[in-house]
Assembly symmetry: C3
Homo-oligomer: 318 residues x 3
């Protein structure tokens, strides 16, 4: 694996999930591969799970890590080309090129601006990063995708379905939020799920909240949440801002919150969320604290999702 | 050892001190125990000594570490239950549970609010953290206690008294300060000292500055600093806000500052402070820079205090 | 090597460069020396290259590291002596002394104030740090010098001149900037270059921008940039504020920017800069993106510059 931007960089998703679950059983079995290797973690935006799970994954592989919170620890970064840099201190080109000299894998998080749809959709920033880096780049969340999260999510579903031997219905449900949020988790989840034939996939969201078709293709889409929940085995809750009216909040209807009552419509579905989650806005305490909630299993799998990706890249280096 | 919240988690304090002093002589003798173990250090509040000494202690044991400054690196944290989280981004329950999945020991610093006495006294936050974590938790300072500091303090006294073979008089003296400070260092020091029979312990502070009885029980308490200093072998200086008038500053009398003249009342007492210390407000330069000052020995012992606690917990895991 | 403040701490600069270039070929050959050693990196000011290249250098040597951004992670620091510390939380003396207890080498970055010339020139802060530390100190940029950068710079020139077998002309050219910048990179570069006999060294800058003579001694100085560029083999671009009118910006003339046309005056000179660099203010895109730009080689050499210094100090410890 020469880079990890999206599921499209994965040759066989079933193999990848299988190996990630094997790593979970024997997390220290590849430490020789990480010897003298360094993974650089660069954050343009805050992080808790991604930051720490990637560090833990690197430790498990015997790698050293450095972490840079770029706007805070270093300089203001110029993203555009050709400007006279009166206001910014360092161009993305130099920043990324240089950082890539100091590590063997560069993992980067950068959020969308949620104002310029084309700019975000074309992943301008991440593609520049891919272009500037001298070493393989891992996507720790970009303008439109969050593939390490999605890999952890499908691993979790694999664990609860005896590796997809049971057919299952997975529902991605839009939920209310107070802020304008990226589409990356939802896009990426839809994209990964679409590669797993055994999954019957439904997306439910308010009108004008449909995701970009290139990610949600193949999903059954409905604006009736109750209908979607019937017979579901997994409810994945996530807010996103409108894609059509790009970055706008069109709906704050609290009826979209996941409640215990709604969960009763399902086939004893597991409750999933990528975290952080706003309690009693996105989901009722009663659901998040119930035995059906598997959000911590998802979070735990973040370690092994990162670890298998780092491992595959390290293997391709030697 | 399954957790380290206070001295009450220690079976035999003399044994603990003895082993910590042995570690100081052979700091790298237990590196096999830390192999593939990770210690997570979580700061809700700033730190210099604790942050670095805990990292050094972990390195000495062969552990890897990650550090999270939670409000700055990640999300705003909801501490209360049942709220609609319109304003906060992640609940303490998820934050702690998840972080505890990414390490083998979770060390946490969280300060008191100094406004709600019962809330602080009951250690609501720290008890939640203990409850949410899936791995042993170490107290890097909580609302009412700072036990790693106190262990380093008693280690230092042990070094100067041939392991308590000489009886000694230890005085905890309140000193002036410009800010409202926690009681944790003073409480914790009093609590640890009270377990050591060979120490004659005096606390001196202005009126209405007495500490909570459950920590200061057994100490001789006087509001006359000069009286307290007579025959003292160790002067431990520390400011705290009023406990009776909770969190208030009732006294700014500069006469409580530790001066060279006052030290002359003692039996050539050593001067102790947990640091950071405000010079010429808490203590005169002449005292802090004298040969009687042992604040750096205390600081050095912070490494081995943390290390023995981490070691005991790691031993209990395997 | 007992400390690394400037080139004056180096016995034989040619030997040092030679060994640094050997390390570049075999970066992991001295890992036994770093075992159980810790390097502390302390930043009073932001950093990207220095922060990460020093971490990578430490990893290459088998050392562990901790990083402290002192004003942000810990307390406000009192730099002066004798004050009543009503406003600052910890004195530099305690901060440095304590940090030096938690590591084997202490590397520190601290910038000039650019207002009090004597204070900066005498390196008051750095000399205090040297005095307070119990372990060897490495200069990661001080008020007047940035020797790790300069070592990387001369290594880079060595690589392009078959280790100075070809005589060459090196030009340090002042360039425009919007902010008042330190003299450290320019001073230090001049000081290191002056030790290499095979280099013909020219400094070009506007009037009243001459550097302190003790660093620029031996250089040919001209206020005519075009004249300086003729026959140059290396153009090193760097802004600094006036030294005579200390810290002031006297010239913003954009004609001092390095352009493709100006580079044509040279003998196909390589373009050098320490980074971060403001594009189209300091240097045209066309130059920075050309094959003559060697700024990334300089940045890469930052690893081995730090590594050889850390290695020499570690060797002197044992």
């Amino acid at each position: 694996m020469k880079k990890f931007f999206s599921v499209e960089d994965v040759v066989d998703i079933y193999d990848l999930i299988k190996e990630a679950l094997l790593l979970k059983k024997n997390p220290y079995s590849f430490q020789h591969i990480g010897k003298n290797k360094t993974i650089g973690l660069v954050f343009f935006n805050p992080s808790l799970r991604t930051r720490i799970s990637c560090q833990k994954a690197a430790f498990n592989l015997g790698c050293s890590t450095w972490v840079l919170d770029i706007h805070r620890d270093s300089w203001t970064i110029e993203m555009d080309d050709g400007n006279v840099m009166n206001l910014t201190q360092e161009h993305l080109k130099e920043a990324i090129s240089v950082m890539s000299l100091y590590c063997d894998i560069l993992a980067v998080r950068t959020f969308p601006n949620l104002s310029d749809k084309n700019y975000d959709d074309q992943e301008i920033i991440f593609n520049k990063i891919l272009n500037y880096s001298r070493v393989p780049v891992v996507n720790m969340e970009s303008a439109t995708l969050h593939p390490l999260q999605s890999l952890a999510d499908v691993m979790t579903i694999a664990e609860y379905t005896s590796f997809f031997r049971k057919k299952c219905k997975v529902v991605l449900s839009w939920v209310p939020h107070v802020k304008s949020l990226p589409h990356s988790v939802a896009n990426s989840f839809a994209q990964w799920i679409s590669k797993i034939k055994q999954i019957d996939f439904t997306i439910t969201c308010p009108e004008r909240y449909n995701l970009h078709k290139k990610f949600s293709n193949g999903a059954y889409i409905t604006h009736h949440q109750n209908e979607a929940f019937i017979n579901a085995n997994f409810i994945y809750a996530k807010n996103w801002s409108s894609y059509l009216d790009y970055g706008k909040i069109l709906c704050k209807n609290p009826n979209w919150m996941i409640t215990e009552n709604k969960m009763k419509l399902t086939n004893q579905a597991k409750f999933m969320h990528c975290l952080p989650v706003r309690r009693n806005l996105v989901v009722e305490d009663a659901v998040l604290d119930s035995k059906y909630s598997i959000v911590l299993q998802q979070a735990k799998n973040r370690i092994y999702a990162s670890q298998i990706i780092f491992l595959r890249i390290l293997q391709s280096l030697s």
